[in-house]
């Protein structure tokens, strides 16, 4: 049992715990979080459950937070920070439909910017 856990831990290290190092992969990941954030914001603007919007936005920020230290490219770092700020805003005001509509546009723009960096 002990050996199996060690094997699992070793495999995770070999896999690099899923944090991509290449710029294109990092940009794809930022694009994914931004696009999902835009979808979440869209649903919030239509009237979603506040709790779900807040908790899912926080979970998306956490995903981005795992990637952020590995990002070295300035343009992608800026886009990532902009996505993080929009998600923080959404998590703070999940029931504000007008604000959610604005955040949807911001996140869509960020998703496009990340997509361009992904190539």
């Amino acid at each position: 049992m002990h050996r199996a856990f060690l094997l699992a831990a070793a495999l995770l290290l070999i896999c690099g715990c899923g944090v991509p190092q290449q710029l294109s992969k990092q940009a794809e990941e930022v694009h994914s979080v931004a696009a999902e954030g835009a979808l979440l914001a869209h649903e919030a603007s239509e009237g979603s459950l506040d709790t779900f919007t807040r908790e899912h936005a926080k979970a998306l920020r956490k995903l981005l937070g795992q990637l952020r230290p590995a990002i070295e490219d300035d343009r992608l770092a800026h886009t990532s920070d902009s996505v993080d700020a929009a998600l923080a805003n959404l998590a703070e005001h999940p029931g504000d439909r007008t604000n959610a509509g604005r955040l949807e546009s911001r996140l869509e723009d960020a998703a496009k910017a990340a997509d361009e960096l992904a190539g």
């Binding site: 495999l11 995770l12 994914s32 997509d115």
Partner: protein
């Protein structure tokens, strides 16, 4: 009429109880990554679970032999003990992932702290296991899990390209990263054939005191229940393929699955998806805790079974309690339940042959089964799936590494 009603209730419970966190994670992620291309992998996995669930239900009904009775008897103590350790490790990882999934679903519904909800989830699951009769547990969680049918409606409302969907049922080598495609193929088949389902189904046949007269019920539950349960897997993958793939969204969170139902169906879709996920994952947590206790009790010849009540099978009761405590200790460290889910599915694939080989041997033994031993069709399917299981068992760990856990 009463019998037909009983069969229908059993089938409904099987549909609602089919999907667990592994199915949700792998089907939504596969849809987001490859669209509908891997639908055939679900067919492959569902065919495997139907074949072996029917076989072990028949063995249980006719010979009163559960899976780990057969494992010890057919593989001997040494190899059987290795099978037990492998099975228990996988059960524990699965249980940890399911408990984490319950806490995430509760968090998305309540907004309370994840760790507090982990404690709440474990306490409620332990109370249910302690207090509720077997049939109630099976039915309540199965029926409430039927809320996941919202994904079938979502799949239609998202207007997928049905031609491409139909094409997805034809086996192919897929486009895109080959290692990632193969990783998802193994994960999808493994999630459908996960060993705890077989341990639970087999022991359930004995819990419900099936006899030869119940073989029709066994076949109906296995064939119709799991096929319709597979429909939920198709719906998850089709919905994710229609909504997430075009937008370049990777599905890395349990909440993403709920969002897939919300987009076409609004708040009602979101609530049904979250409730369905909560009950499906809670039911799977109970099944995997019981499966772990069944395995160890059967292997060592202890008294086991919910029908004996807690005091009537004390070591069995202690075994599921220990499983729950260990699983809690794993998830409370803060490890990501989604990562534990993926690892549990991949490791369970490696353990699958040690579960399936003894079932096939016992189901063929006329000394045990008499006229109810495997016929030609059951043997052809049994051997075919054994080969499939052996191939994916060998490929699982290398693919985990080569595909970077499906990240490419």
């Amino acid at each position: 009429m009463k019998n037909v009603f009983g069969i229908a209730l059993g089938i409904l419970a099987a549909i609602g109880g089919f999907v667990d966190i592994g199915d949700i994670v792998f089907n939504v992620a596969a849809g987001a990554t490859f669209g509908y291309q891997l639908l055939w992998a679900v067919v492959l996995g569902v065919g495997g679970i139907i074949t072996y669930a029917e076989m072990c239900g028949r063995v249980g009904a006719v010979s009163k032999t559960a899976v780990f009775d057969a494992v010890r008897e057919r593989l001997g103590f040494g190899v059987g003990f290795v099978a037990l350790l492998a099975g228990e490790l996988v059960n524990l990882m699965t249980l940890a992932a399911e408990i984490g999934g319950v806490a995430i679903a509760l968090q998305l519904l309540s907004g309370l702290s994840y760790r507090a909800l982990l404690v709440l989830a474990v306490l409620v699951l332990a109370l249910v296991l302690w207090l509720m009769p077997f049939q109630w547990i099976e039915r309540i969680f199965g029926y409430c899990g039927l809320a996941l049918l919202v994904f079938v409606v979502a799949a239609f409302k998202l207007h997928p390209d049905w031609g491409a969907v139909a094409h997805g049922f034809v086996p192919s080598t897929g486009s895109g990263n080959g290692w990632v495609y193969a990783y998802f193929l193994v994960g999808l088949a493994g999630a459908a054939m996960i060993p705890y389902e077989v341990y639970f189904y087999s022991s359930g046949a004995i819990e419900e005191q099936w006899g030869p007269k119940d073989l029709g019920l066994n076949r109906a539950n296995a064939v119709i229940g799991y096929s319709l349960g597979g429909l939920l897997s198709f719906a998850l993958m089709i919905s994710a393929g229609a909504l997430l793939l075009p937008q370049g969204i990777n599905a890395e969170l349990l909440g993403t699955a709920a969002l897939v139902a919300e987009a076409p169906l609004g708040q009602a879709g979101l609530i049904l998806a979250l409730v369905g996920i909560l009950f499906a994952v809670s039911g799977a947590a109970i099944d995997s805790a019981f499966a772990g206790a069944y395995s160890v009790a059967q292997f060592f010849g202890w008294e086991w079974g919910k029908y004996r009540h807690n005091a009537g099978a004390p070591r069995f009761t202690l075994a599921w309690m220990v499983m729950i405590v260990l699983a809690f200790l794993i998830v409370v460290t803060g490890v990501d339940p989604i990562m534990v889910t993926e690892l549990s599915v991949i490791f369970s694939v490696v353990a699958l042959p040690l579960t399936y080989i003894p079932i096939l041997l016992v189901a063929n033994d006329r000394a045990y089964m008499g006229n109810y031993a495997n016929g030609v069709v059951a043997n052809i399917l049994g051997v075919f799936y054994l080969v499939v299981v052996l191939v994916i068992a060998v490929a699982a760990i290398p693919l985990l590494v080569l595909s970077n856990m499906g990240q490419g």
